[in-house]
């Protein structure tokens, strides 16, 4: 089957989308960009193809073994991928102990680490057995990191080592694991996953039939902050502004204005009826008011990024905040807290300040036309959306505001469509 790939190398996450010749989405992949764009692009691309494979398998496997069989197979596949990465992490931590831990403490550290990994393995097995295990991060760093930290706390004292030592070992090794290219593709792990999921003969046959279908890449386009790092010729690289414009148009064909708030860029884009960009404005080098700003705030408050919005929504009396300087995010926050302001009121004010900054860019780009599509990581934050809705209505009157659940993939989607249009041209 011919397909088209779009890759969006963002400053925080890297996304990939695979389309079929009709422009339907076959698969999506996402990973954290770490500081290695080349590898992030490869990981996201592999993930998108894994998800394309499973989407392709969906009907066949469901027919052969039901939805539960497909879900179990996917969990088994993810577990196989996880095991490869865990084995790598375990080996690296072992090396690190030999190199940096004082001889007298080496044995205790090694046995504590062994115990942590033994327990993680057990948890993974139990996860496989559960029908609907709790959701967790798509990124190995986060999934493995939270389990490791939790278990390290349990095993440190009985093993006679400090928690800090164990966590330090993880911190030193995780970057190297993330930056090592590992074989995590569909064909490498589907066999073992079938075995682990104890798949029936009918499911195996369905997978066999579907897995041999070739996905032939007929075109690839890259975009995003790190696009210059992509090993593509120049014609296959498009600016993220064009890709977000086209991606938003594909998701919502009535789109005329797009707002994208990403990790360190905010873009206000105007598009015509064909999704072609007619004008745009973006922030200058200062990342004030971008997604990264909320990230720093979350760190300062010792909260997850996803927890900021819900807390802000509890506010009754939002604090007025005008500065969205990322560098001074912590100082701003501490100052407000010291004045006795409530956390939710400060957060509501911060979200409004972020959106106010975006409103200024939107005004400079030519205003907000109907329909208006909001994309990027901040579009998933309910408090940000609420502030935007209010300010749009206040300044421009009624506007249809589109937000897709898959908005984080908008740039990659636009890139994949550029690849498809390029092949058609």
């Amino acid at each position: 089957m011919r397909c088209f790939v779009g890759i969006d190398l963002g400053s925080t996450t890297t996304k990939a989308v695979v389309l079929d010749t009709e422009g339907r989405v076959l698969g999506r992949g996402i990973t954290n960009s770490r500081s290695n764009y080349d590898l992030a692009a490869e990981v996201a691309r592999t993930e998108a193809f894994v998800s394309a494979r499973f989407n392709h398998l969906e009907r066949e496997v469901e027919r052969a073994g039901g939805a539960a069989a497909l879900a179990r197979l996917l969990r088994a596949f993810r577990m196989e991928q996880m095991k490869v990465q865990l084995a790598n992490l375990r080996a690296r931590i072992g090396d690190e102990i030999g190199r940096t831990v004082a001889p007298g403490r080496r044995a205790a550290a090694a046995s504590a680490v062994e115990e942590i990994f033994r327990r993680i393995d057990g948890e993974e097995e139990r996860r496989l057995a559960e029908e609907s295990p709790p959701a967790r991060s798509d990124f190995f760093r986060d999934a493995a990191g939270s389990a490791y930290a939790r278990l390290a706390e349990e095993v440190a004292a009985p093993a006679g080592v400090t928690f800090d030592l164990l966590l330090g070992l993880y911190d030193k090794c995780i970057v190297a694991v993330e930056n090592e290219p590992l074989a995590l593709g569909f064909r490498e792990h589907i066999g073992q996953a079938l075995h682990r999921a104890e798949a029936s003969g009918a499911v195996r046959a369905a997978v066999e039939a579907s897995a041999t279908a070739e996905l032939e890449v007929a075109g690839t386009v890259g975009t995003g902050y790190g696009r210059a790092r992509l090993p593509f010729p120049k014609e296959q690289v498009r600016s993220e502004i064009l890709c977000h414009g086209l991606g938003a148009h594909v998701l919502f064909p009535g789109t005329r204005t797009v707002l994208d708030i990403g990790g360190q860029d905010t873009k206000a884009i105007q598009v015509d009826a064909r999704g072609i960009v007619t004008g745009f404005q973006m922030n200058d080098r200062c990342a004030a008011g971008c997604g990264r700003y909320l990230g720093y705030i979350a760190d300062e408050m010792n909260m997850g990024l996803h927890e900021l919005g819900p807390l802000a929504l509890q506010s009754r009396r939002p604090v007025k905040i005008s500065s969205t300087c990322t560098v001074f995010a912590g100082a701003e926050l501490r100052e407000r807290l010291s004045l006795g302001e409530k956390r939710e009121d400060i957060l509501a004010g911060l979200h409004r300040a972020v959106i106010l900054r975006a409103m200024s860019l939107l005004a400079r780009s030519g205003g907000i036309q109907d329909e208006f599509t909001f994309t990027g990581g901040v579009a998933r934050n309910e408090a940000g959306v609420r502030a935007l809705e209010g300010l749009v209505a206040e300044n421009y009157g009624p506007r249809r505001i589109n937000i897709s659940a898959d908005s984080i993939y908008t740039g990659a989607l636009g890139a994949a469509h550029f690849a498809r249009r390029g092949a058609a041209a």
Binding site: S239, E240, D272, R274, I276, M282, G366
Partner: protein, 425 residues
Amino acid sequence: MADDAEKDRSMLLQKEMIGAHYRRLELAPETREPVVYTFVPGNLTELIRSFGALPVLPEINALQSAMRGRSMPFIAAAEKAGHSEDVCSYVKCDVGMMKAGNIGPTGTRLPRPDLLLLSYTGCYTFMKWFELLREEYGCPTVFLQVPYQGDGVETREQRAFMVRQIRETLIPALEAVSGRRYDEDLLRENLARSAASEDDLVAVLQSAKGRPSPIDAYFGAVYYVGPIFSAFRGTPEGRAYYAELRREVEERAARGEGPATPAGRLDRQKHRLVVEGPPNWTHFREFWRMFADEGAVVVASTYSKVGGTYDFGFRHDPSDPLGSLADYCSGCYTNRSLPSRVAMIESYVREYGADGFLIHSVKSCNSFSAGQLTILRELERRTGAPGAFIESDLVDARYFSAANLKNRLESYFQMLDARRAGATA
């Protein structure tokens, strides 16, 4: 940055002229040639030179320092002395240079001024700047008041007001510092050479109407306007330079060649642009390369008119020496109202067959930057040509973000491509 650009003959000639001028300035305390500090917009070089005095142009020193990578220590010295980050970076570069011993951009010492001649042309910062210099040097200062052209035309009364100031205040001051009597015949000779050079410069700038354009009318024009905007207008060296430059450009046009750029000779010109606003000097060639790499040539710019808008017909007139000096001061670009600037850029977009226009807004210069978004919107409305907005600074490298600028420029060029493809689809 590796740079394989070929240099034009005129560029080499200019380099020699500038070097010789700075050497002559260094020797001025011994040769007893009087020194007059003045600014580019509204500079009265013919008159100054007719008294045997040498002009020093502080903003040229600042930009020359930046092009040689020397502006940041000067700016740091000025900030240490109490100037805030938001003060015009030309001012800080100049003040810092003064504090560091007044060593000019070519490494020679600049002499103290015998006279500060401020011919105000649309920039109030100039006044404050010269107040600082007056404080430092304690020398006579002449403030030639040039009425702002708010209505787009110079009235008879305004002209008479300026001529009277030149005759009654400036000329006596120049006589006092030089010990020479005003010699109108000598001034006429200088003005005749100016007018001939201005004819040549206009021919050079208007050659950009050709396809391919034999010049880059922004980055290249910075070199072309150098002598006439600074110390050489009306001098025999200046006259020879412009005759040579015109010959060189006409030969290139006859061969159907494009200009030399940091990315090599630009014969294949994909985008023809008009640019408003001064360039960045700290990364001048890197900035230029962002255009040249994309096949973009600038066919007209407003910055190349800050020292005189000759392409709209003005010439220095030997038969009316003081009157034409007054007209010259009035007509400088920064002394013009926003409607006049819009009309000027509109005529450039139409007459030079531009595909679009770019505004480069600099943090340091309010004279240029205030109102630029209004200019952008109005030009889009009038011409239908797409505009874009990019930002950096004159000589403060901290405000130059290569990735951000490249991102915006690439987006803009790809937008031009997409619109062009859409128009022919």
